[in-house]
Symmetry: C2
Subunit: 283 residues, 2 copies
């Protein structure tokens, strides 16, 4: 199988490493010649080019560009591929991407490998980044089964745990566990700016692992936060409205000194958290 990878950053580069190691013929595409040179130097790919023409004859093309560039990338790619070529992407929101790309190229399966590090770019690429991590495919009724099979083979080669669901369910799930935490956490950092300068100074000196962990995703890359909110905003908004209701219940319990209600809520959250963090032994 001849596999094209468009975008050789952390995700595309890491994928190229594993696919090359598994014996596939991998062709990397980047807008920048320096990135193509680096990919060849690191032997991540068998061929690298700034020109989509290099993908003629590819059986599978994985689009690893930022989410907002996917549609234009597909548009530029179409003149160069044959009708049997299967496309997939790695965008972290699926409903709008799937709706757009399905109109451009029916032989397509939306995908989302749920792995990453705090770093970006080709030099951050790592072997086995996706191994043991979820990889979600979001075929719809019109998706050709043969296309799903081909992308499934990719997922297995990467050693990922395969999940299949519809694009809407995917986007709702990531709104809860990936996008909502960013807003919750950013609001925490932002709110601390309301303290008096003296108290802020003490708070900064006293902050410990509890604050560090709760604030981590809210102090991350603003571009990623913006992208996820833009592309998944109806689901994120719905999760935020639920979050605010639950927060208000906690505030009311504290305000009314209803310690029984407050303790019950904390007993429940202690019981529920392991359902989210234990499947991968994250502790």
């Amino acid at each position: 199988m001849k596999i094209g990878i468009i975008g050789l950053g952390l995700i595309g580069g890491s994928m190229a490493i594993d696919l090359s190691a598994a014996g596939y013929q991998v062709i990397g595409i980047s807008r920048r010649q320096a990135v193509c040179d680096r990919a060849l130097e690191r032997r991540m790919v068998q061929r690298a080019s700034t020109d989509m023409e290099a993908l003629a004859g590819a059986d599978l093309v994985v689009i690893c560009t930022p989410i907002q560039a996917i549609a234009a990338t597909v548009e530029a790619l179409l003149p160069h591929i044959h009708p049997d070529t299967v496309l997939t992407d790695v965008g972290s929101v699926k409903q709008p991407v799937v709706a757009t790309v399905m109109q451009q190229w029916a032989n397509y399966v939306g995908g989302h490998p749920m792995a990453g590090t705090a770093h970006q770019g080709i030099d951050a690429a790592l072997p086995r980044l996706f191994a043991g991590r979820p990889y979600v495919l979001t075929p719809i009724a019109q998706t050709p089964p043969a296309a799903v099979d081909r992308v499934t083979q990719l997922v297995h080669t990467l050693g990922s745990d395969l999940y299949r669901c519809d694009p809407a369910s995917h986007d709702q799930a990531v709104a809860w566990i990936s996008h909502l935490p960013v807003v919750v956490s950013a609001s925490l950092i932002s709110a601390c700016g309301s303290a008096s300068p003296e108290v802020q100074g003490l708070a900064q000196a006293f902050a410990s692992s509890g604050f560090r962990d709760t604030s981590r995703v809210g102090g991350g890359n603003p571009e990623l936060g913006l992208m996820m909110a833009k592309h998944n905003h109806p689901n994120l908004l719905r999760s935020l409205h639920h979050y605010r209701q639950h927060l208000d219940q906690m505030i009311d319990a504290i305000d009314q000194e209803d310690w029984g209600a407050f303790e019950s809520a904390l007993v429940q959250t202690q019981r529920d958290r392991p359902k989210f963090v234990e499947p991968y032994g994250l502790g």
Copy 2:
């Protein structure tokens, strides 16, 4: 200097280890004989007793009981100590504790060593738990300077970074960085229960380090969360109201698709977070 430690759990036990190692005569008090035996076995203390009488002649007594037991502990201790004995405590909220204990015993300085682990009890006690961590003293106008000096010596022996502030400022600062994150984080776990069963299943499978970190303190020991809310509730409530305002601003920006405002907020939180997490290189 002869030092008494009442309560030989993680905090009291760890303190005993360092003070014994520094050459002080350390007397440990626990309600349970088994804990006294264990403290002697681990050579954390020179003497251990279930009877406060053992503290006759102590120059300094550190009360390491849970916060709700401090007043009763002081009451039980008073018949056994001489007027020059200095008391201090390790409660994580200072205003109510200082107000109460100052009426019982004027030779007292409120304290809060900001260190811990996820474990509890004497077997969790560690050497150098407090080294390089903040240790806050909260003397008030009536506190005898000699008492402050004696507790300061304790703080230096533990290798902690000494901070001095009034009890109210301490409680406001910990409301922001220690108590508010618990409610913010617990509300996140609780809100995820609003998703449909199918989406919850996917969310649990997809949850990664972002959710793990943001939810950690909200899924912790309910007793600790309850204690902090009970004892610091006016400050916690004030912080929560500010938090909700900042959250609402983020929700409004997303609702109105005002991406400029949303991005500015995230750029600011990325800039502000290091002020809280970098002093101790927490990253």
